[in-house]
Symmetry: C2
Subunit: 299 residues, 2 copies
Amino acid sequence: MSLVIVGSVAFDTIRTPWGDRERIVGGSGTYCSLAASYFTRPRVVGVVGRDFPRKTLAQLKARGVDLEGLKIKAGKTFHWEGRYEEDPNRRTTLRTDLNVFADFRPEVPARYRNARIVYLANLNPEHHGFVLGQFKKPALVAMDTIRLWIESKRAALLRELGRTDIFFANDEEARLITGETNLVAAGQALLRLGPALILLKKGEHGALVFGRDFVFGVLAHPCEHVIDPTGAGDSFAGGFLGYLDKAGGLAPKEVRRAAVYGSVLASFAIEDFGIGRFLTLDRGLVEARFRQFRRLTHF
Amino acid sequence: MSLVIVGSVAFDTIRTPWGDRERIVGGSGTYCSLAASYFTRPRVVGVVGRDFPRKTLAQLKARGVDLEGLKIKAGKTFHWEGRYEEDPNRRTTLRTDLNVFADFRPEVPARYRNARIVYLANLNPEHHGFVLGQFKKPALVAMDTIRLWIESKRAALLRELGRTDIFFANDEEARLITGETNLVAAGQALLRLGPALILLKKGEHGALVFGRDFVFGVLAHPCEHVIDPTGAGDSFAGGFLGYLDKAGGLAPKEVRRAAVYGSVLASFAIEDFGIGRFLTLDRGLVEARFRQFRRLTHF
């Protein structure tokens, strides 16, 4: 049982029609590891600057997140600023300061190298080889990507998809990569690029899971007021991979349950600004919402 | 067991990026009654012109649709022309010729007046009273609406929602009526306008069902290539109401299964132009797809 998450630990400035937050803690590695922490002891590889709050590091550790792979470097932490519209699916990036993330070449601690699952969150696909080369033989390699890499590093991205087991993409990314408007066709086209599992995330509409011989769909938890959608996708990945790490296999039954846990964790992420909701959430609430998904979808 | 559907029986001209069809049979009453015919013997109230093909009327009757309430009047049948984009959720109305539908005042045959379920499909809400007044005491009144009535007959629409049990709306209509962007908030707001059940249809993303004390979600059947989305919403309503008419109650379990049957019937409607798919579909295929929905959503 070991999941290594290579991703950003960052500051986010969030602007929404119902309120703003300046430089709160965010980042794909942060959300993903917090979500995974309900199932396993995730290990994080990333970098922050000296300005990153020690209190947050202590909170992550208290939730069971292993931070040996998180470097603290001289300089400032990665900072992203974005604005959401009334429809929270519409988001605009206002500013990206890479700071210490700019020349980040992830170094994997020796203790992490026999990881069973490695997740590369939003990494430049040209750097995947360097990172994956440091692991012995992960049973599962998972990745997601962002519009920036799809548009600027397409060849490297397609190459990396060819050696990835699990790929997370949102609807826009799936369409951009495959050229398919229909999301089912896009999911099938992504499968043909290599991965054994495609997790196609659709925000308020949930997610579709495409495997070699099955399709599974999970809804989003019905939420009347989304406070801050930042990190929902990363939390989905964390819940999914954290549960898979605990479950140990890739049987369809486990994949289905993992996807539901992904949706459960994403649903908590959006209920408050930043990582706030995860710091008060216990396993009992996660399980209760998992059971609610049965009532929501079974007939 | 009796379901009366008051709606249009019409010609549609459909333009899509992958082909056109001129003046094929369509209409809300047609799709809805065909979908319902897998569960019950739906009764149709509507009007067509003398140009409407007798062969289609025979096909509807062969599927168990009762056409006593369908008037054949001197003049031309209602004709709608629309175009779909590559993304079939985007549709433009190119032309609407109301023809014999223009001064249609639905007359309900005596034999229909003790109906248990009455469904008013896209009717001008100012005409609801005239139609409903002809029934004895329906156990359930269901309706849907269109953008035209939301914008031009808002007061009448809101009044009618106050005496409707089941309301079908797509995402755009739900947002227009309630002013809520979030669909869960929109569904809850619609409940507060009167109906006991809201069926919020989301096209490729399925549908949400809002009741007084439950929310249920059903996916759309994963379809890689949508041929013609026309009639999907009406087929959803037909499958839903047809099953409810057969089941006899409004217990949450029956409502859930009805919604799944709605999604099943909608999924067949979009697989071919017009009503083509329904004319070759048998109950066995409907049941097989219903079972597929279990594999698609249960975990």
